[in-house]
């Protein structure tokens, strides 16, 4: 039964825009005619805590949370957080990560060191791995703030939905005056 469901996880740090990205994903799946469920914990997310959002789609979805070890695609907004949630993935899952680091409190205080070579380590465990410099591409597109949309574009390639569906979802979820730059950012991520 679970095989007909695709499990997407979006992980990162509170304030990075994970909730909006997961809303756009869920919207796209609904437009494409799938059953969709989504779940995350908002309480502390605004205060720089670790955040994970679960988005599941398929013919019929029951649980709103992805069972441990059954994640199909992990969409990481930050390296350490990506590393933290690897155990939610099934072997052979796809991992798409923003090449970006946010220091947790103990590192800021100089009590810990941010782990080195995280990208390499993750890519050894999950060979279907892609590291994307979302910020750099977004800057090229003309606005640093659309880095998430670049990443979403990159993730979209693995989700087998029509261009049209994504455009519709973006149209619905992004404020009108930011739509053009977001569509452009999405395209550049999708064509990576």
């Amino acid at each position: 039964m679970a095989d007909s469901i695709t499990n997407v996880l979006l992980v990162g740090v509170g304030g990075q825009g994970i909730l909006l990205a997961s809303e756009i994903l869920a919207e796209a799946f609904m437009i494409a005619g799938f059953d969709v469920k989504k779940s995350e914990i908002h309480g502390m997310s605004q205060r720089g805590g670790s955040v994970v959002s679960h988005v599941r789609f398929g013919e019929k979805v029951y649980s709103p949370v992805v069972p441990e070890g059954e994640g199909d695609i992990l969409f990481g907004f930050e390296l350490l957080e990506t590393r933290r949630y690897l155990n939610l993935l099934r072997p052979g899952a796809k991992v798409i990560v923003n090449d970006f680091m946010i220091q947790p409190p103990s590192v800021l205080l100089g009590n810990d060191r941010y782990p080195e070579n995280l990208a390499e380590e993750i890519s050894q465990r999950f060979t279907d791995f892609k590291l994307i410099d979302g910020l750099k591409i977004a800057t090229e597109v003309g606005n640093q703030r659309v880095a998430n949309t670049v990443l979403l574009g990159a993730v979209s390639k693995h989700l087998k939905l029509d261009d049209r569906v994504w455009q519709k979802a973006l149209q619905k979820m992004v404020p009108a005056k930011a739509l053009q730059v977001n569509l452009k950012a999405f395209e550049s991520g999708r064509s990576l």
């Binding site: 609904m30 969709v36 205060r47 029951y62 649980s63 350490l80 947790p104 060191r113 782990p115």
Partner: protein
């Protein structure tokens, strides 16, 4: 029409479709967005109350006036609202009344994980439990019908995964033709004096029996027959986990968790070889089924603490050897650096906790963003029980202490929390002259739950200007002689006032007056010039790190022994607290 809605949005939609006229709530994760969404429907009079008891009483008043009304809160809110709830059960309703309670198994953002279903049984009111957003909407509508049909308040229990989970919902039109609210006198039913209440109580007991019978054939309680080997009774989000973890099992999905439909349970038990109850938290259904004389397995194999998940259910059934063990999953266990939440850069609470730590204070704490003052490096909170408890705990602790210890006791409470239940506590402290110091961290908003307005913030839920509670005058009116107001960004002044008030052997109140730094698009907060660490002047003494500001980063040198501080210009708000700590004048305004 179909939309993806969160459980909270769907409950709000359900209230709208049910023709609700009055809604009242006090914020609390994961319930907060229910009222926020209800307020988008102009047909509903919606407002924040200072606490949950008041919210429920406002809804009760509206119901007595004939309007359909709703009150929303988090699980612990029902503790505060329990007093009216229990007697409301006796009076019954005028217009339908629904109390939404959102539980938080796993305590994602709560101080305990009490199971609200016990309240339904304790107060003798029916409770529904939806399993997805569609049911959130449907059940809210149905709850109003049930409320009026059986003359009872109805509780709906959500939980974090339902309230903050999203799924697809089909929308309908609101009901029409509800009676217009008007005043109807009925003292025997609504004046709960002993003589009247004694007449009402047997009616309540009969109502519970009638509801149980009604539940036997109500379609929201349904048997789904699959394999006869395993039968599972479940409700709410747990039903979804069960369907995923044990797809072959037969299920009795209960939409109404109290009172239980006894005939239906007997019927289901008779069709399966082995009966289980899978429920989050307490053995609420299990104990009642056992009391019916039906053998059932529940908490013997299912965890009592925390939330369930498909994985946890499967593990429980594998361990009990009810289903074969599955292949081991890709579990990577190791210790990673944690990423706990932190006060924001520029948070006006930060400097106060730094100074409380320096002053060697014993801090009786309270609930809000400032509870994070407990975390390192601030380490300046010693207790936190429930909203409002900081002041009364301080008042109690000083009673048996020698004077030099009494002086160290400081209660810390936010503006919203003070108005919620802190006012009573301060009244007690003033009345009984307990010699402790109280700090009211007035950041002009209920920040913790996402910045809701409150009676001292000057605005209503709808963003309309409102009268502001004058907190200093209120404290004086309660009998506090020493009320000091200060700017918490000014460390020198804060330190001085703190010392003076802590050494005073009388009750005193210090009120900080900086707004939350997230109220940006508002005259209440203005961002100052940003700061930088002038690297050539930084001696690497780490003094600025002691406030734990997320904008300040320690950058070690190559050997990792020494280093310098660095301020992230994207995060700095220019609050100057770190600047005041730098003895070498290395932190300066960006030119």
């Amino acid at each position: 029409m179909k939309e993806i809605l969160s459980g909270n949005e769907a409950i709000a939609r359900g209230a709208f479709e049910a023709g609700v006229k009055v809604a009242s709530a006090y914020p609390g994760t994961p319930s907060t967005e229910i009222l926020e969404n209800i307020s988008t429907y102009s047909s509903i009079n919606s407002s924040w109350a200072p606490n949950e008891k008041v919210a429920l009483e406002v809804a009760i008043g509206a119901s007595f006036g004939g309007a359909r009304s709703i009150a929303c809160m988090k699980h612990v809110g029902v503790n505060v609202a329990a007093d009216p709830l229990f007697t409301l059960s006796y009076t019954g309703v005028g217009g339908g009344l629904v109390l939404i309670v959102a539980d938080d198994p796993e305590m994602h953002s709560s101080q305990n994980e009490q199971d609200s279903r016990n309240y339904a049984k304790f107060a003798k009111v029916p409770m529904l439990e939806p399993a997805d957003s569609q049911e959130c909407k449907e059940f809210t509508r149905l709850a109003f019908e049930l409320s009026e049909k059986f003359d009872t308040p109805v509780m709906i229990r959500s939980c974090t995964r339902i309230s903050h989970g999203k799924s697809i919902v089909s929308l309908s039109e609101p009901v029409t033709g509800l009676p217009e609210p008007k005043l109807v006198k009925n003292p025997p039913k609504l004046v709960m004096l002993p003589g009247n209440a004694r007449v009402r109580h047997p009616l309540v007991e009969q109502r519970t029996l009638d509801l149980s019978t009604f539940g036997d054939s109500w379609e929201i309680n349904r048997i789904e027959s699959r394999s006869e080997e395993i039968g599972i009774i479940c409700t709410g989000v747990t039903y979804q986990y069960v369907r995923e973890a044990l797809p072959e099992a037969s299920t009795l999905k209960l939409g109404m968790v109290y009172p239980l439909p006894k005939k239906l349970i007997n019927e289901f038990a008779a069709t399966v070889k082995k009966l289980y109850v899978i429920e989050e938290l307490d053995p609420f259904i299990e104990e009642q089924v056992l009391a019916m004389g039906i053998p059932v397995i529940g908490k013997e194999i299912i965890p009592l603490c925390g939330e369930l998940s498909p994985g946890r259910i499967r593990v429980a059934f594998e361990k009990a050897e009810i289903i074969p063990a599955s292949e081991t999953k890709n579990v990577i266990e190791e210790k990673l650096i944690p990423r706990p939440p932190n006060m924001c850069p520029g948070c006006p609470h930060r400097g106060v906790f730094y100074l409380l730590n320096k002053a060697n204070a014993y801090v009786t704490g309270d609930i809000g963003c400032y509870t994070l003052g407990f975390m390192p490096p601030l380490n300046a909170m010693d207790t936190c029980v429930c909203m409002g408890a900081s002041i009364s705990n301080a008042s109690g602790i000083v009673r048996s202490l020698p004077p030099e210890e009494q002086r160290r006791v400081v209660a810390v409470i936010g503006d919203s929390t003070f108005l919620h239940t802190g006012v009573n506590s301060l009244m007690e402290m003033a009345y009984n002259q307990a010699p402790a110091t109280v700090i009211i961290l007035d950041n002009r908003i209920t920040a913790m739950t996402g910045r809701q307005e409150n009676p001292a913030s000057g605005y209503t839920l709808a963003g309309v200007k409102a009268p502001e509670v004058d907190i200093p005058d209120l404290c004086r009116a309660l009998g506090i002689k020493h009320v000091r107001i200060l700017d918490p960004y000014d460390l020198e002044e804060t330190k001085k006032v703190l010392q003076e008030e802590m050494s005073r052997a009388e009750p005193s109140v210090i009120i900080t007056n900086r707004p939350c730094c997230l109220i940006k698009d508002d005259s209440r907060f203005s961002k100052s010039a940003l700061l930088e660490v002038v690297q050539s002047d930084c001696t690497g003494c780490k003094a600025c790190l002691r406030i734990g500001c997320p904008a300040i980063e320690w950058q070690p040198d190559a050997e990792g022994k020494k280093g310098k501080s660095f301020i992230d210009p994207l995060l700095c708000t220019g609050c100057t607290v770190c600047q005041q700590l730098c003895k070498f004048n290395a932190i300066r305004q960006v030119k």
